[in-house]
């Protein structure tokens, strides 16, 4: 992109009135980002006639120090340092009218360890800015100096596995269904059957809190009866994500304390409680040896459309800093939105200590995590035992595979559904470790196990042909191209 417009300095720069953002110092094509800068990549769609560089400069301005007119009070500050700087603007491949704008922010602009502060700057007023038709935060590079101001996951993948004594395979879960209407006693029945049948976890759904048909204490008490019974009948550690989402922090703490007093290993919150509440619960979870499960309820309102909002990869980065242990990150093959390459990028953000720039998975920046804990991604929504080879191939071992309908909807009952999933999983891990080609032999591996495992046979017969093949809306902008051999 052309970078002709030069920044004004001195008296001219601070003359009262309106000045282009690019001339106020929010555009600097020569700027070399410092290792300690926070970097953001925005997808900007300027209004017709708005120059993309001016639009990028405006985003930098509005998300840092600028307002619509020149203010002399800037001169009381080290304004050059505090101004965010757009330093690169390039057209989006195959996206006419849209541009990628790279913006650098000085570390001093942000309060240490506060996602609320970060979000208020980066996705604050700027998203309603009139000269833009649409704006999307695609990715961020968070410098190590900034990462180190966060606690990170309360437990982390490694410690979670050690506590649960479960290694070498994905964990298995199921969301209790129907999600609304069960009494506490009936709810616990589903939990018991699923855990005894072979699952590691069951889960409250995002909107099961404390309703007339089941107040929260009833749910917690009956769930703990179910968990302990299942533990005694299998010799394995079991858990159920008790959703403590509530109207106030005081209510959430009360529920979390009760869960702890009953011996639960895990509690759950919804993304809609907000970043401050999430960070509070993460600190509580760290203090109380509790795994913290995050359901990403509400995210699709701003992550799904490519033109406007915030990419889920940014939400995943923030959630890792904020300190959750589990986050729903997509299934690819299930019922909810999820392009394979883009989803791969989310999983990498959760689980790796270093994410190299990888445009084909939507990762725009190298990201060092500085040994902060790893978040266990959760694959949930419309998956079943017949897809086990695909799921294991896509996600590897460090993931919770959640089969809600795929457990509870089993024709022979919930225990049978759970057993079918556990057997399918263990058979597939065994075969993979023996060196078999899962993707090719997967259906055959499942069929072999189904010969001695009737529940698996029934599951395969019931769901064999169920697939969800719809086009994804949130897909990578860059595809790997094959370079011709010399």
């Amino acid at each position: 992109m052309d970078s002709k417009a030069t920044e004004l300095k001195g008296k001219e720069r601070y003359k009262s009135g309106v000045l282009e953002y690019r001339r106020m110092g929010y555009w600097n094509a020569d700027y070399v980002p410092k290792d300690t800068d926070l970097l953001a990549l925005f997808r900007i769609t300027p209004q017709d006639g708005v120059d993309p560089i001016e639009a990028a400069a405006a985003v930098a301005g509005e998300s840092s120090t600028a307002t619509w007119t020149v203010c002399w009070t800037d001169r009381l500050t080290a304004a050059d340092k505090y101004r965010a700087k757009a330093y690169k603007v390039e057209p989006v491949p195959n996206g006419p009218g849209s541009y990628f704008a790279y913006i650098a922010y000085d570390l001093d602009l942000f309060e240490p360890g506060s996602i609320a502060n970060l979000a208020a700057s980066i996705i604050g007023n700027v998203f309603g800015f009139k000269p833009l038709k649409a704006l999307r935060l695609e990715d961020m590079r968070l410098p190590v100096a900034y990462v180190k101001t966060y606690q990170g996951p309360a437990t982390g993948i490694i410690v979670e596995r050690e506590r649960l004594d479960k290694f070498g395979r994905p964990l298995l879960g199921a969301t209790v269904k129907p999600k609304l209407g069960l009494s506490g006693r009936n709810y616990g029945r589903v939990v018991y059957e699923a855990l005894k049948g072979g699952l590691d976890f069951t889960k409250d759904d995002e909107n099961i809190n404390s309703q007339p048909f089941m107040h929260w204490r009833e749910r917690f008490l009956y769930c703990m009866e179910a968990i302990n019974r299942a533990q005694a009948s299998t010799g394995e550690i079991k858990g159920s994500y008790l959703n403590v989402t509530a109207a106030t922090m005081e209510d959430m703490y009360e529920r979390a304390e009760f869960a702890k007093s009953l011996g639960s290993v895990v509690v759950m919150i919804d993304l809609v409680i907000g970043w401050t509440a999430i960070q509070s619960m993460a600190k509580w979870a760290r203090r109380n040896d509790m795994i913290l499960h995050l359901h990403r309820a509400g995210h699709s309102t701003y992550t799904r459309q490519k033109s406007h909002g915030v990419s889920f990869r940014v939400i995943a980065k923030w959630a890792r800093l904020a300190g959750v242990d589990h986050i729903h990150a997509g299934t690819v093959v299930g019922k909810l939105e999820g392009d394979p390459a883009t989803t791969r990028g989310y999983y990498d953000v959760c689980r790796e200590d270093f994410n190299p720039r990888s445009l084909e998975t939507g990762i725009f920046f190298d990201q060092h995590w500085a040994s902060i804990g790893k978040v266990m991604p959760v694959a949930s929504g419309g998956i079943h035992a017949g897809q086990m080879h695909q799921l294991l191939d896509l996600f590897g071992d460090d993931v919770v595979l959640q089969f809600g309908g795929g457990t509870i909807g089993h024709p022979a009952g919930i225990q049978a559904g759970a057993t079918a999933n556990r057997v399918a999983l263990e058979a597939m891990v065994l075969a993979r470790n023996e060196g078999r080609d899962m993707l090719k032999d997967g259906p055959q591996i499942l069929a072999e196990a189904a010969k001695w495992c009737t529940p698996l046979k029934q599951a395969l017969e019931t769901w064999q042909d169920v697939t969800f093949t719809y086009a994804s809306t949130d897909t990578p902008d860059f595809v790997p191209t094959v370079t011709a051999a010399e």
Partner: protein, 146 residues
């Protein structure tokens, strides 16, 4: 009942050929394999007895199988024996795979006791029937009790 701790406990007990393949998978990844045994299968009994140190130097599954079989000769039928693989690389430094290689001839299971607390809360305790006997004397002549 069948204790389902370990990665492959929902499958039929692994044959030696299958165990060897899993061990080879671990060795191929550079993990150190360890053999452990216990007669206390409580789900929170973390520290099983070690059958010697983890085999950091062994790179051949046959060597591990030899140790598993030696352990079985002493503890087979009266103890659980598990194979555990450790990855010492940064970011893990923990267990990567852990599965049973031998079980007691019969498994009596666990009792769940409930102590009623205030309100409706209950304190649960999981207790293995086998641990009614002293350590080392468990799972002997169990058949009559199961």
């Amino acid at each position: 009942m069948k204790v389902t701790q370990g990665t492959f406990s929902f499958l039929p007990d692994l044959t030696d050929r299958q165990i060897k393949a899993q061990v080879q998978y671990c060795l191929d990844h550079g993990w150190a394999v360890n053999v452990e045994f216990t007669d206390d299968p409580h789900p929170r009994n973390t520290y099983w007895e070690m059958w010697d140190l983890p085999m950091f130097e062994v790179r051949d599954a046959a060597g591990v199988m030899y140790e598993i079989n030696k352990c079985r000769a002493v503890y087979g039928g009266t103890h659980y024996i598990r194979v555990t693989a450790f990855d010492n690389s940064h970011g893990c430094e923990s267990v990567k795979l852990s599965f049973l290689a031998s079980r007691p001839t019969s498994e009596p299971g666990f009792a769940l006791t409930r102590t009623e607390g205030s309100g409706r809360s209950i304190v649960y305790q999981t207790r293995s029937y086998a641990t009614d006997e002293a350590e080392g004397k468990r799972y002997q002549g169990m058949d009559a009790r199961t």
